[in-house]
């Protein structure tokens, strides 16, 4: 219907954004009727989202005409931003920002570099940046989930952890069940995405490739490639972040820093 009303692409885009936002606002109003107040957070998140994505789109417009190496700086910037975002999920955990940046840089960065080197990801900015950003964004989510779960597990089990310490266990051994549980839990979304690929959802990248005229079989295979890369990057990120954080929640004298009421 909107296509008949708007001939200009920009105006059409804004109208589509308005309709999609209206759907979100309806949900917020329904929640409000049930005494769940999401108004402030949702409005701020939607305004931030549209401003950020339009700003990034404008920057990309300039950068896409630049040399290929500029994509490295773009991806590095994304990694730092992803680290800052997911560190918020680790409230009260020592050094959360640095741990997150290192974990995402090593997890997502290594996978992007290896796959680009192997020719799985094209070096053109128009390919490397969007696919790289997908990998980084998923690594960010996994990192946030892993640190959040690790934090809540440690806070819920300080008695067990300190009992293990009091029995002579090394600090790392005393939290190993919670490192393992956090790692497993953080990978559930990535595993479910792989498992339900093509049955529950057809991801945006594949839809985009189909719309731009790619052969359906190649688009389908490449979607699997992207999800496998996301899984590898997410797993590596989660592993690194939980192992790095494991060492930071204890003092050098193996005393648990993360305690209820202290964080």
């Amino acid at each position: 219907m909107l296509k008949f009303l708007f001939s200009n692409q920009l105006a059409l885009g804004l109208a589509q954004a308005g309709v999609a936002a209206a759907a979100a606002i309806v949900v917020v109003l329904l929640a409000r009727r049930r005494q769940v107040h999401l108004e402030g957070d949702t409005v701020v998140a939607m305004v931030r989202g549209i401003v950020q994505i339009v700003a990034v789109g404008s920057i990309l417009l300039v950068l896409l005409r630049g040399p290929r190496w500029t994509s490295v700086f773009l991806l590095m910037g994304m990694i730092v931003a992803a680290g800052a975002t997911s560190a918020r999920r680790a409230k009260g955990m020592p050094d959360a920002f640095r741990v997150s940046v290192w974990a995402i840089a090593c997890g997502a960065g290594v996978v992007i570099a290896l796959m680009t080197w192997a020719g799985v990801i094209d070096t053109a900015i128009t390919t490397l940046v969007p696919i790289g950003s997908m990998i980084i964004a998923n690594a960010m989510n996994t990192n946030g989930l892993a640190l959040n779960r690790f934090r809540s597990d440690v806070l819920a089990h300080t008695g067990e952890i300190e009992t293990a310490l009091a029995l002579g266990a090394e600090a790392n051994n005393s939290v190993s069940p919670y490192v393992q549980a956090s790692f497993e839990a953080s990978l559930i979304p990535a595993i479910d995405s792989l498992r339900s690929l093509g049955i529950v959802w057809i991801p945006g990248l594949m839809a985009g490739m189909l719309l731009s005229g790619a052969r359906p079989i190649y688009a389908a295979i490449y979607q699997f490639v992207v999800l496998a890369m996301i899984f590898a990057a997410s797993g590596l990120t989660s592993l690194i972040s939980t192992l790095l954080m494991r060492g930071r929640i204890f003092t050098p004298a193996q005393q648990l820093l993360l305690q209820p009421g202290r964080s």
Binding site: G159, L165, A166, G168, A169, N173
Partner: protein
Amino acid sequence: MSVSNNSCILRAENLSRAVGAKILVQDINFQVSRSEVLAIVGPSGSGKTSLLRLLNRLDEPTSGTVYIEGIDYKQIAPGELRRRLGMVTQRPYLFPGTVEGNLQFGPLQRGERLGAEGVEALLLRVGLAGYAHRDVANLSGGEAQRVSVARTLANSPVLLLLDEPTSALDEASKVGIEALLRSIVKDHGLTCILVTHDIAQASRVAERALLIQDGRIVRSGLVAEVLHA
């Protein structure tokens, strides 16, 4: 400075701990001799548990230190220090699995393993003979606390730190655990520091006592002198 008195197992020297502006423990000095039972008593929130946590270095003192058999405890690896100063807490915090799995936990941390006889001997000591393969999920509160005591003893500690070990138990279990602790101390000459708010229990179990208020020792001496002054 080290302590040369051979019978002295533990000596706390000017021990203090503050978190932010809050002083938990202030300028504590005392010592415990071999085979002695010392009770630390005081009202809730007086700093008893905070002091006990400083003794096996689960928390770091803001100032002062502790000497274990004459050695500054900051020179002892934390794992080894905690193995030597066994701790039994108010709640047993058993690890999921069997009773034997819990008893093996401490020895496994230093690459050792208890034999079947060793496990059974420990269980006999705490009155739970034949319990080795039971799932800890099916134990009563009193049985769980006995397993906790046996698990601590499996590390062959030189001193036991007991943090209100009976306060979470019903009356019958409380009497049983107290009798068990008395027999362990009497039969094996184990040195103990017992934190309790129960003055009657302190009188029954300990020889000397420290009365703590607002993180400071306000009285110390023989149990009768301290508790009934």
